[in-house]
């Protein structure tokens, strides 16, 4: 990795435990300017938890998190706004940052939802809502974008376009991106660094290296390894259903 890029986020041996149950532990990685780092892993492997550790949402964590920027855009995995709170798209756009009308229009236009500007948030479809979430996060031109499954519920054509958009924006505003995604094709083709989680870091590295890793294949199945070419590796452990590690004798 290029050393003259500014470091934005650094996790050192970070972990989070709730009620004596470790959700994720021993996670270390860095996100630098202009770089896309992706977290992959099965359900319950601690991807969102890791993102929340990085963002400071989880407070009592193990290990260390260092943030070198305060200008952060976040697309959470789940968000629901109660009907009791009447919120239009335009109100939502300026939730954490004051933006001009132009900035709002441009950001909404990028994801193709400018026409929804005055619509109520509760009247949007799942895909429309995701687009608004992405627009909101990028409108403030953050230094660091954290995207937790940003294209869920978006149709296939839109999905590809949105990932292209995310990549384009990261280049344009030169921000770092921490991405959580299930779409291995996208992860493997468009990101700079992949971290494969299953309660801990199973393997990490550049996409083509990780794709060849035996642990990765074990987690995602044989089909997943076909995303890129593969060859065999030795592995030293397997996982039981709850993510604990069974060491091989």
């Amino acid at each position: 990795m290029n050393n003259n890029k500014k470091l934005l986020l650094k996790l050192e041996n970070a972990g989070y435990t709730v009620n004596d149950k470790s959700l994720v532990k021993g996670v270390s990685f860095e996100v630098k300017q202009g770089e896309i780092v992706t977290l992959i892993g099965p359900n319950g492997s601690g991807k969102s938890t890791t993102a929340k550790i990085a963002l400071g949402i989880h407070k009592k964590i193990d290990g260390k998190v260092k943030k070198f920027t305060n200008k952060i855009g976040y697309v959470p995995q789940k968000i629901s706004v109660d009907w009791t709170l009447p919120l239009r798209v335009i109100d939502f756009m300026i939730l954490t940052e004051n933006l001009t009308d132009d900035q709002i229009n441009i950001a909404l236009n990028l994801t193709g939802v400018e026409h929804l500007k005055n619509k109520n948030l509760s009247n949007l479809s799942g895909g429309e809502f995701q687009r608004v979430l992405i627009s909101r996060a990028i409108a403030k031109q953050p230094n660091l974008l954290v995207l937790d499954e940003p294209v869920q519920g978006v149709d296939f054509k839109g999905e590809v376009a949105l990932y292209e958009l995310i990549k384009k924006i990261s280049e344009k505003i030169n921000c770092g991106i921490l991405l959580i995604s299930h779409d291995l094709h996208v992860v493997m083709s468009a990101t700079d660094f992949v971290i494969c989680l299953n309660g801990h870091v199973c393997c990490s590295g550049k996409p083509h290296i990780v794709a060849q890793n035996e642990k990765y294949k074990e987690l995602f199945g044989d089909r997943a390894s076909n995303v890129l070419s593969l060859y065999e590796h030795q592995h030293d452990h397997s996982h039981s259903q709850d993510g604990t590690i069974n060491h091989k004798e």
Binding site: K52, L55, G56, I57, N70, I72, G73, Y74, P76, I79, V81, D82, T84, L85, P86, L87, R88, D91, F92, L95, T96, E97, N120, V146
Partner: protein
């Protein structure tokens, strides 16, 4: 034209409505109706203390409410019982203790009905000062913390992630709620103060489509309720609190028709 006491009640009521309007919106957005109700129930204890030590009622009520809020936070850490249950315990325990203390204060003349349901005869100049100075202060602070408080109301994690330190502002909001209860108790009464926070806000929700509009309409709804309530209280010799809340309810019911019309238009 009107007696002095009624003018005072009007000035007090208008002051209260100006504050409960915006604050009430946050109470229903944050689903804190029961929390506000609990603080109000504990107010009886505050009033009895004020009578006993001969100090300001608003001040005592505020202190007791603040203690209760802290107590709730501690309980939340100690047990896994739901907030709902904890609030129920605190609300009724503090009301019970308050009533027990009232029982002991036999030597002091005590207008318990006025306390529970509001009494326009009871408002004096010092109360007016408390309401208008305290109320301005509450609104001023609310305006200052609006952005982070609102962001955390929409989504706490989003606000936290993007650097808005929501816990701090939620704590400030709790204090503001305690303060608004403290200044409103004489007019509206402690059993009905939650209604003053919630009903105008609910009325406003039915007829608005963005947060700013809802805050304005909630305030207008509160003002109308106070005016209609106080005049009918004078005319029919009814207690002020229930009259105000009944007026608010009428407005709310009217807003339901508007809501129906709204949704028909959409179809």
């Amino acid at each position: 034209m009107f007696d002095d006491f009624f003018i005072r009640a009007l000035i007090a009521g208008v002051g209260i409505a100006l504050v409960t309007g915006p604050l009430g919106c946050f109470v229903i957005w944050k689903r804190l109706s029961f929390f506000a109700g609990t603080l109000a129930h504990s107010a009886l204890l505050g009033v009895t203390m004020a009578v006993f030590f001969e100090i300001s009622i608003a001040f005592c009520v505020f202190i007791i409410s603040a203690i209760l809020a802290i107590l709730l936070l501690q309980l939340q850490k100690k047990t896994k019982l739901s907030d709902d249950t904890l609030l129920g315990i605190l609300a009724h325990a503090s009301l019970a203790i308050g009533l027990v203390v009232v029982g002991f204060l036999t030597t002091i003349r005590f207008d318990i009905m006025g306390l529970l349901f509001g009494d326009i005869l009871a408002v004096n100049e010092i109360d007016l000062l408390f309401i208008w100075i305290g109320g301005s202060l509450i609104l001023f602070i609310l305006k200052l913390i609006w952005k982070p408080l609102f962001a955390s109301t929409v989504n706490n994690e989003l606000a936290e992630a993007e650097g808005m330190t929501p816990n701090k502002f939620n704590a400030i909001f709790t204090i503001l709620t305690a303060a608004v209860i403290a200044i409103s108790i004489k007019i509206v009464g402690l059993l009905l103060i939650t209604g003053m926070l919630i009903i105008p806000a609910a009325f406003a929700r039915n007829i608005s489509n963005n947060p700013q509009q809802m805050v304005v309409l909630s305030t207008i709804g509160g003002l109308l309720s106070v005016l209609i309530g106080l005049f009918s209280s004078l005319a029919f010799n009814t207690p002020s609190g229930p009259s105000i809340i009944t007026a608010a309810l009428l407005l709310f019911m009217l807003s339901l028709f508007k809501l129906k019309k709204f949704s028909e238009l959409k179809k």
